[in-house]
Symmetry: C2
Subunit: 336 residues, 2 copies
DNA sequence: GTGAAAGCGCTAACAA
DNA sequence: TTGTTAGCGCTTTCAC
């Protein structure tokens, strides 16, 4: 008698309280089948009164749709994955989908463990996100019984992926610099073995034409420093603008410039890449930089997986999303 | 006949293929009940051969344990939440628990939506994480049918929470400075309305004794700058050490010091707080700072929710976890 | 318009 | 040791 108090309410409780059968209760609650307006209202009211909430597990078991998706991520919750995850979650929550977050640390064992757990839980789809575009997932993701979407990662041919348009981003940066009458634009960037680095470099080279010079290094502020030390130590014409591979490098560049008495943006304009605000906003002067629209990437991926989960078609291929230019104070027209 | 190919294998398929009943199959697979070694092995082999994986939904429906927990987070996937989430996930994955990540953006509507979804999915527990300790959750979390653990947040009395020990952290910083023979230690910190700020300030004051001076501001580099400008513009004795409320402030302090020709650490030693590596490692010199052990916080919370989910008791109360001192180059003995 | 009955895939008494 | 049976909470034909 009293043990009922602690149990969660089931549709049986609703049916009993509303004096109908459980199938009528179900129909009334879901608006399926034919139900008298009166009874429907009564059932709904009763359900609310006794605090009934349908058990998603039971429902999913029957309908074969768990309304959950898995997000497999490659890095230790880095700064790239998170805005993407936020974007994904944002478009899905209102559709009643929940997101399992699985950090694989790029460890195959862990990745497989998470993947199996997701599959066992009958997720409706999987989103794989990485931190760079040219690394294969730590676990085989083809031939899965559920749809897969890749974000900030490229899957096998014919898969669906969303990546930032690096070429567009680089072009945006260089064109901005050119519009400011800068003519000797240097590119200081990250490791050459990153596909994104090569893509941006290529776009930079095309946009700048002759006189293009690319310095490859790592992603650190320190590299930005030493690149400047090197460039400004040598003879010959000096750059009046520097397009950096990421914000950390840009910050290092700006500090090195200040150290040797070169003014930013008056003497040299600087553009970063990433718009990682803890850096870009706090650099002096604040960085003009390229934003990869990570959240939007997540939105699109979320929408895509939603369609796929519903059984609808989504055109395969790599979707390159435009970047945006965030203008702050590290650029400006030349002052002669 | 052939439609079977695309369907997932069920325990029926295993039973049929192994020529046993489904209950025997179940027993063999789970090691429950008594089963002949031979049949057990055979069932297991068959299960593996046909690629059987148990449907977690069906299992959970029956056992009343979903082996999933929800993580409700307050911020837009900030830097605090993520290491914590990684810690939680790390201890749970091997126990077969999965984590739903729910970003509430501190929006009550969204929080309620997520909470209801979690409850509907019969999660075994909920972890609430915030970005500061003195803000109430955006949704009522008491009187839930599942256990709740608070991380980097304090719940109502008698709840279970895990927070960094700010007092210990601040003391660690000040004692370190004192051990380096620094005697005029200034504290430049964040907004006074943060509980953590007040706690750290109090610990600092006690540890320093007379001569303590606290400057409250915001969490930015810029504030670090202007604090230094102010302090070094005035007459009287100058600090030989500065304990900062976070790494961003510390970075601003160090840059401002360099701008006015004060050497770090020779003339003034600086300690930060947070160990946010993008800042602490790239500052020149790299920052000695306090690490709040966020991942460990996540570990403990994960372990706690695991116990609770199993129905075991966990002592209520606020668990304050020790911080650690990360020594880099922004401190050092005085050189006179 | 409503209800009885079947069953999603699985576990757990209990019988054999 | 193994199989039969009865559900978990829900949706969904299909009679009435």
């Amino acid at each position: 008698m009293t043990d009922r108090d602690t149990r969660r309410r089931t549709i049986h409780d609703v049916a009993k309280a509303a004096r109908v059968s459980i199938s009528t209760a179900s129909n009334a609650l879901n608006g399926t089948g034919r139900t008298n307006v009166e009874t429907r209202e009564r059932v709904k009211r009763v359900a609310k009164d006794i605090g009934f909430r349908p058990n998603a597990l039971a429902r999913s078991l029957l309908t074969k749709r768990s309304h959950a998706i898995g997000m497999l991520t490659n890095d230790t919750y880095g700064r790239l994955t998170l805005p993407m995850a936020a974007g994904v979650s944002e478009v899905l929550v209102d559709q009643g989908l929940s997101v399992f977050l699985c950090a694989t640390n790029n460890d195959p064992r862990l990745a497989r463990l998470h993947l199996e757990a997701l599959l066992d839980r009958q997720v409706d789809g999987i989103i794989f996100t990485a931190t760079r575009l040219d690394l294969p997932p730590p676990v085989e993701l083809t031939k899965l019984p559920v749809p897969v979407v890749y974000v900030f990662a490229e899957g096998p041919p014919d898969s669906i992926s969303f990546v930032p348009d690096d070429i567009h981003g680089a072009r945006l940066a260089v064109e901005h610099l050119k519009s400011l009458s800068r003519s000797r634009i240097l590119h200081v960037t990250g490791p050459h073995d990153y596909l994104a680095v090569r893509r941006r470099a290529e776009a930079y080279r095309e946009s700048v034409g002759s006189g293009a010079e690319i310095l490859y290094g790592d992603w650190s502020e320190e590299w930005g420093h030493s690149a400047i030390d090197e460039v400004f130590a040598r003879k010959g014409p000096r750059p009046d603008a520097i397009f950096c591979g990421n914000d950390e490098i840009a910050r290092g560049v700006i500090e090195a410039l200040r150290d040797i008495g070169v003014r930013v943006p008056e003497d040299v304009a600087v553009v970063g890449f990433d718009n990682w605000e803890v850096i870009s906003k706090q650099t002096r002067p604040p960085l003009t930089t390229i934003d990869m629209q990570l959240k939007e990437l997540g939105h699109q991926a979320g929408l895509a997986i939603l369609e796929l989960a519903k059984g609808e078609e989504v055109a395969p291929g790599t979707n390159r999303l435009p970047c945006s230019l965030v203008v702050r104070q590290s650029c400006g027209s030349m002052t002669r």
